[in-house]
């Protein structure tokens, strides 16, 4: 097994063993979405109209909760130094960790979304597109998030800082994720927003680790 696959496998195993990070993110997602109908009242038309947006925004916030841990645990126990002396360039170390975050956190959140959609009276026809936009859009969440996590590695209370740094960068993903769902419910094709969403994720997969590695190099001095 290559060093990259070894690192991804270890992070996934740790995510399963520790469990806490995923549990917190899923729990937070569920609670935020559940509270919304309670706050807005039982206007089914209103809920179903805002459901995709609510599900997307709550997903971004939930993913944000688990981002600080992407590099922090390896930094705190000294693993990051040793990872840096390994055969992988730091860019690929960052990419492996972001990929593990995507698999262990972003995908479960995306799969929980349709269940929560029931609470919001989401149009049944929108379910497949909603999950598809989330699966295609969330690599951007994890890979841009990894850059934010690396930048705030040594910052005190870095979690809040990550939100300020990273949430604005999620805006394009949010806009085109919503555009894809909107195109399905209204006139117009779904393909175009999907392609742009894919492009955003691919760009994040390439640029995120480069930014993260640059930040890590500074933090490790």
């Amino acid at each position: 097994m290559s060093a990259f696959a070894t690192l991804v496998a270890r992070d996934l195993r740790l995510a399963v063993r520790q469990g806490g990070a995923l549990g917190t993110a899923l729990g937070f997602y569920m609670i935020v979405v559940t509270m919304l109908p309670l706050g807005l009242g039982a206007d089914l038309n209103l809920l179903s109209r805002i459901a995709p947006g609510v599900l997307w925004i709550a997903l971004l916030l939930s993913a944000l909760l688990s981002l600080p841990r992407v590099f922090a645990s390896d930094y705190e126990d000294g693993s990051l130094d040793i990872l840096a002396t390994g055969p992988l360039p730091l860019e690929l170390v960052a990419a492996a960790k972001a990929l593990a975050h995507w698999i262990s956190t972003s995908i479960p959140l995306a799969l929980l979304a349709p269940v929560l959609g029931i609470l919001l009276n989401l149009d049944i026809g929108a379910y497949p597109v909603l999950v598809a936009t989330m699966l295609i859009g969330t690599p951007a969440v994890s890979f841009i998030g990894a850059a934010g996590a690396a930048l705030t590695l040594r910052a005190h209370r870095g979690g809040l800082l990550i939100a300020l740094l990273v949430l604005p960068l999620y805006v394009p993903t949010l806009i085109f994720g919503m555009a894809a769902i909107g195109a399905l419910l209204g006139p117009g094709g779904v393909t175009q927003p999907f392609l742009i969403l894919t492009a955003l994720s691919l760009a994040a997969v390439v640029l995120g680790p480069i930014a993260a590695a640059a930040a890590l190099r500074v933090q490790m001095q």
């Binding site: 740790l14 520790q18 126990d77 000294g78 130094d81 001095q221």
Partner: protein, 202 residues
């Protein structure tokens, strides 16, 4: 294989910690770094591992033909052991073995008397046992340059003996080792560099 440092100037946090340090280490030699707290032992080791870029001067390693970077030639054992509490002792070591392209985990466990603890989650280990697990990484993958930052901290006398034995085997086989320490290590033919107390230097 050799390690050459020329006129190294190392800065951390805007302060010059080490100024104008030069040394040359040939294959099969160990270098002990001593000096007061804050004299730059860790800083120098981090520079040798490639984490910290020298402000001036150069570090060269290898025999000219090797183009790998500093970090890829060295084992870095710092103050922290790089251990995951939720993985067992054997799993921790097996990960580093696979990641660092190393070999047999069982031999490395044996070299640091950890065989009996192999299936215990590393979170339950004592400080000394964790240190030994951190050091066992040295035996799991072959690398020419060992950079050890106070490796004897929290080790008992028997474990220090194991470490010295492993170090002598490594150095005897043509390896290089740079060791920051406060405790005299019973290493044959080890050179020593005493770093000046730069803790109060501006």
């Amino acid at each position: 294989m050799q390690l050459v440092a020329e006129n190294l100037v190392l800065c951390r946090g805007g302060r010059t910690i080490i100024e104008g340090l030069s040394f040359r280490l040939e294959a099969g030699a160990a270098l002990l770094l001593t000096g007061a707290n804050g004299s730059g032992k860790t800083t120098l080791l981090r520079a040798l591992a490639g984490f910290l870029k020298p402000a001036a001067g150069a570090i060269a390693v290898g025999n000219g033909a090797d183009e790998r970077e500093l970090g890829e030639l060295s084992h870095f054992v710092g103050h922290l052991d790089g251990i995951k509490a939720h993985l067992t002792v054997a799993e921790n070591l097996a990960f580093w073995a696979a990641y660092l392209d190393g070999g047999d985990v069982a031999i490395a466990l044996d070299a640091f008397a950890l065989s009996g603890l192999a299936d215990i989650p590393a979170g339950y280990l004592s400080a000394g046992q964790k240190r030994r697990l951190g050091l066992a990484r040295l035996a799991v993958a072959a690398r020419p340059l060992w950079l050890l930052d106070e490796p004897t901290v929290s080790l008992d006398a028997a474990s220090v003996g194991l470490l010295v034995k492993t170090l002598e085997a490594h150095v005897g086989g043509g390896g290089l080792a740079v060791i920051a320490t406060h405790v005299p290590l019973a290493l044959a033919d080890a050179r020593e560099i005493r770093l000046g107390a730069a803790g109060d230097r501006k």
